[in-house]
């Protein structure tokens, strides 16, 4: 074990490990093939309280710190990161409402999630990915509220969420300062779920389009101040960016575990693979990257617990972890040879799951630009 876990952390990791091994692992391969997580699989996650782990006690959550929450989701991601991200996205959305919204909005949002419901964060658009300010969605001021028109894409939990945070432009002239966030219910008239993405990996994670056609939202659904949506979005991304890193570590650890077990059992030329030096090199490199990644993630989480926005540290963490992941999962496939490439074994899935980590929550190219800018600005 890399980190100095507390007794509490050990107990929670072990609980999540046991439950995920029993209740999730046997179904992952089929769900991955189907590109869909069966609804009944969410039950154990809600039973555990995964949707509320990080939520403060006053809103009915468990109130764990980011550090411990990250450990739990690393463990869950070892079994399936797509499943884990469904819950992470939910509590991160709620956390943002708690940070940016009024106590009434936070209570409202928390009350929805507590009913064993998912939440989603709708920012990306077909023509506005990394370029958030280029978004086309509009929120038009009307009497008593706003009318929203929007086409959002690549929305994690898009098709299964009951409540959304949606970003729209309230002022097209103001650029990045013209964006405002809204709390939107799934059952508001005009809210539609569009096409589901058929993805390379993270296939247990639901990713869809979200379409808003003349959706009226009352004034009290404005999250934060009008025009400050961009700031909110960036803060939210800092948080979710850190959490995808913890899931990345889970994937790396799983890849290492699978490759190591195989290399110890599999014999060639009368000796276990693990006794050949070139294989040892692959395994050692995997362990080095995995352990270092875990430490960086842990440090980022602890900084966040101490109140830091981790603008620089989070970007460094994300880039290092998700770039390292590619090497680790690829090594796992390499160690296992033909079996690694076969769909009968779990590591080819890890390789498919890993790729998106360099893309979402800000591509690693954007992260590098951010790092350089922040360094230059001191």
């Amino acid at each position: 074990m890399t980190l100095l876990y507390t007794k509490e952390q050990k107990a929670l990791i072990s609980l999540v490990h046991d439950v995920a091994e029993q209740e999730l692992k046997p179904y992952v391969a089929q769900a991955d093939r189907d590109g869909k997580c069966p609804e009944e699989l969410y039950e154990f996650g809600f039973d555990l309280g995964l949707h509320l782990v990080e939520v403060p006690k006053e809103y009915g959550g468990t109130g764990l710190d980011y550090e411990t929450t990250a450990m739990i989701f690393e463990e869950l991601a070892k079994i399936d990161a797509g499943y884990a991200i469904t819950f992470v996205t939910t509590f991160v959305a709620l956390r943002n409402v708690i940070l940016a919204g009024t106590p009434e909005q936070a209570q409202y949002f928390a009350d929805v999630v507590k009913q064993r419901k998912f939440a989603a964060f709708a920012l990306t658009e077909p023509n506005a990915g990394s370029d958030v300010a280029g978004m086309r969605s509009t929120a038009t001021k009307v009497d008593g509220g706003y009318v929203l028109n929007s086409t959002k894409t690549f929305i994690t939990n898009g098709g299964i969420a009951s409540i959304y945070i949606v970003f729209c432009k309230t002022d097209f002239e103001a650029g990045a300062h013209g964006i405002t966030a809204f709390i939107v219910d799934r059952d508001m008239p005009g809210v539609r779920v569009g096409a589901e993405e058929d993805k390379m990996g993270l296939r247990l994670s639901n990713t869809t389009e979200l379409l808003l056609d003349d959706v009226f939202v009352p004034e009290d659904r404005v999250l934060g101040k009008v025009g400050e949506g961009m700031k909110l979005a960036l803060n939210a991304l800092n948080l979710s960016r850190a959490f995808v890193c913890t899931m990345g570590v889970g994937i790396m650890q799983r890849a290492l575990d699978e490759a190591l077990a195989y290399a110890t059992e599999r014999k060639q030329f009368g000796k276990p693979l693990a006794s050949f030096q070139l294989v040892q090199g692959l395994l050692a490199d995997m362990a080095i990257k995995t352990e270092a990644a875990r430490c960086v993630v842990n440090n980022t989480m602890r900084l966040m617990d101490a109140g830091s926005l981790v603008q620089l540290e989070g970007a460094i963490c994300k880039t290092f972890v998700t770039d390292s992941m590619q090497e680790v999962v690829s090594n796992a496939v390499q160690v296992m040879g033909g079996y690694g490439y076969s769909r009968e074994y779990p590591v080819e899935k890890l390789m498919r799951d890993a790729k998106v980590f360099q893309i979402f929550e800000g591509t690693n190219q954007i992260q590098r630009t951010t790092i350089a800018k922040l360094l230059a600005n001191g």
């Binding site: 007794k7 509490e8 107990a11 929670l12 609980l15 999540v16 046991d18 439950v19 209740e23 154990f44 039973d47 555990l48 309280g49 995964l50 782990v53 468990t62 764990l64 739990i72």
Partner: protein, 272 residues
């Protein structure tokens, strides 16, 4: 209703490996877990609690680290948990263990129902709970698949409800009828144990398990019948089984292998 669940901390035997060179058991790094059968016994108790209302007490005898499984039991929903521990209890065989457990139950009781797993996966004896019943002079049913306590009509308290039990035998399933108090060993097929939640796991860590030691039970125990000295059986030696058959390798294409195998089996008079 007051229900006791007797449990045991065991090494996860599925994780045990043999050192191929020294031919010994590698115990290092093997995690300790709640005996899987006991988990089903606890679930049975918790289901009775959900249905009829009951106080569920979980207890285990063992060294201080056995407290881990009590925390788990508390997180699953046990109302109180007890660790029975004393240096003088060490080395007890099933006879002595069941004797100490019966004294502890006497001390904490009386109980209407005492449950335990069908067997522990380390010793695999399946004797302790049944022996416990004999020490307590209590009716006992082993290998229980299902246990139903007759509900009393609303408002009334039924002091002696009928208990209907399904028991797995070697030939099938028996339906038995009895009354409380009762001791049972529980099969895995009986239920699907619930999991603790993240919140209840944290609550369990806050809760301190009660300890029971020899002093607490002194009035109820004959000290000559406990521990290594009081155990009627003694392990003389333990060893890893030798396996060295000199197998014949049958080579060739599948068709030839099949042909040669049948021929050799016939030759050895194993096949006619």
């Amino acid at each position: 209703m007051k229900i006791a669940v007797c449990m045991k901390q065991v090494p996860d035997t599925t994780e045990i490996k043999i050192d191929p060179v020294k031919n010994t058991l590698i115990r290092k790094g093997v995690p300790s877990i709640m005996n899987p059968y006991d988990r089903h016994a606890l679930e049975m108790a918790l289901q009775l609690k959900d249905r009829h209302g009951a106080e569920v007490v979980a207890l285990t005898m063992g060294p201080s680290q056995a407290i881990d499984i009590l925390e788990e039991a508390y997180a699953m929903g046990a109302d109180e948990v007890y660790l029975i521990t004393d240096r003088k209890f060490g080395g007890s065989d099933t006879f002595a263990t069941s004797y100490i457990l019966s004294a502890a139950l006497d001390h904490l009781g009386p109980f209407d129902l005492v449950l335990g797993g069908k067997q522990a996966i380390d010793g695999d004896t399946g004797q302790t709970i049944s022996s416990l019943a004999q020490h307590m002079d209590c009716a006992c049913i082993n290998q229980v698949l299902d246990l139903q306590v007759e509900s009393s009509p609303a408002g009334a308290t039924n002091s002696n409800p009928t208990v209907t039990v399904k028991r797995k035998t070697d030939e099938g399933v028996e339906v038995l009828e009895t009354t409380l108090p009762l001791v049972c060993t529980v099969m895995k097929e009986s239920n699907k144990p619930r999991y603790a939640s993240i919140q209840s796991t944290l609550d369990a860590l806050e809760h301190e398990a009660q300890q029971i030691c020899l002093d607490d039970l002194a009035a109820l125990l004959d000290e000559s019948k406990i521990g290594l000295k009081g155990s009627p059986t003694r392990v003389q030696k333990s060893f890893v089984p030798e396996r060295c058959a000199e197998g014949v390798f049958i080579e060739g294409a599948p068709k030839d292998q099949a042909h040669d195998l049948v021929e050799q089996l016939v030759e050895a008079k194993l096949l006619v």
